[in-house]
Subunit: 232 residues, 2 copies
Amino acid sequence: MLSDRDMSLEEWLGATSLFAGVEGMHLRDLSGIAMVASYKPRVNIFSSGDPGAGFYLVKEGRVKVFMLSPEGKEQILHVVSPGESFGEVAVFAGQSFPAHAATLENSRLVFLPRDDFVALVSANPALAFNLLAALSQRLRQFAVMIDALSLKEVPGRLAAHLLHLSEKQAAGNRLSLELSKTQLASLLGTIPETLSRILSKLQRAGFIAIKGSDITIVDRQRLLELAEFGKF
Amino acid sequence: MLSDRDMSLEEWLGATSLFAGVEGMHLRDLSGIAMVASYKPRVNIFSSGDPGAGFYLVKEGRVKVFMLSPEGKEQILHVVSPGESFGEVAVFAGQSFPAHAATLENSRLVFLPRDDFVALVSANPALAFNLLAALSQRLRQFAVMIDALSLKEVPGRLAAHLLHLSEKQAAGNRLSLELSKTQLASLLGTIPETLSRILSKLQRAGFIAIKGSDITIVDRQRLLELAEFGKF
DNA sequence: CGATCAGTTGACAATACTCAAATACTGTGG
DNA sequence: CCACAGTATTTGAGTATTGTCAACTGATCG
């Protein structure tokens, strides 16, 4: 689903969770103000502090939203997949982007200009509720991230992430990391060296088996305990 | 302002940023569904996972919203001051609170039940925009927090916090911590011992002068550099 | 005035980062 | 299809920041 080829922009918009339940007429309006563009991998979409004249939906590909330290180290806040949105914060507060965004792969993004979009929201309460739900959902995710960063060590954060992927991918005990290990390190708030060491440690200790980017959970019970208590 | 004694609940609601610009009629509806209650200090308001039947506004006092590790260590996400709200996330996504909340002082809180509130939002787009702005603002704050936790060391986080307080309080180079040092440690993602050591270190190094909970910024320039680069 | 709690300081341990180097991949041009 | 360049990943050695545990001081409040 959400695959592009076989649907109009209008239909595609209606299939995203952000615009689920929005009436056809309003979908037509939305697709009227939307601008679609293609991006190569590792292309900057916006930077922190840039004026935000609107926000984006991912139609194809994936985008990372991240913070950058003065020394160039990055912390990924969010990996945005097809059907999801990013950059809304600048539309409703502050008017500038609080983070950086860049493509991870070849991507097609839908841009919705602020002023036109705000007008549509005013006319359509259902749209407002979807937006409130999306922002609330993201706040929830950020709270979990803050919790993990300050209250758990890297092994615990990694364990929690693997279990999360396992659940999302619903492929039994097999899962794919979905990111390069360098990017995963940045998402977990650590560095590639540390991630690499802890992955091997978990493998040696019999928690998981590693084959490149594919992981098999060997001992789910102990992985759960590690994710919960954050200690070996 | 927002002081209680001299205004009705209706007026008070209209003076909060969440309900700024909402028409008198709708304010009357809001005050009709609102329930006000008093709380002593250090009283639990809700816990993570509790079903969220509504959300809160702080009328008097202050409330901390925080995550708790299994070992009982806490990470403060947000200190909520008069006129601000908390717990909205449960109203618009997930229906359970993602964090804990407890009073820091004697407080009076306004509770708005979800179902009634949602009905009012449907009827009033301005209200929806205010909510979107509030949630966006909080997302921005959380992003900064994630950035600080993962990309800065404790001295950098502390320096940034002191500068933030200094700006907010607008009292030249003098500022008050506004929290016990133990609570401040929890807000900065560290422990009291570490905070204590770093405060003395900053004082010895001539960045600040400490008198209990009152801080004087002695060398703003170097404090700014520390906040920016996170290194001594 | 004693008890409790907040804050400070010291000694130590441990997690994670830095720096460096070796190895394994990946994609591209020829 | 191969060779090469540029990344990505892994591993090693050393360091540093921060957390743990413990003891002590000081303040606050019945």
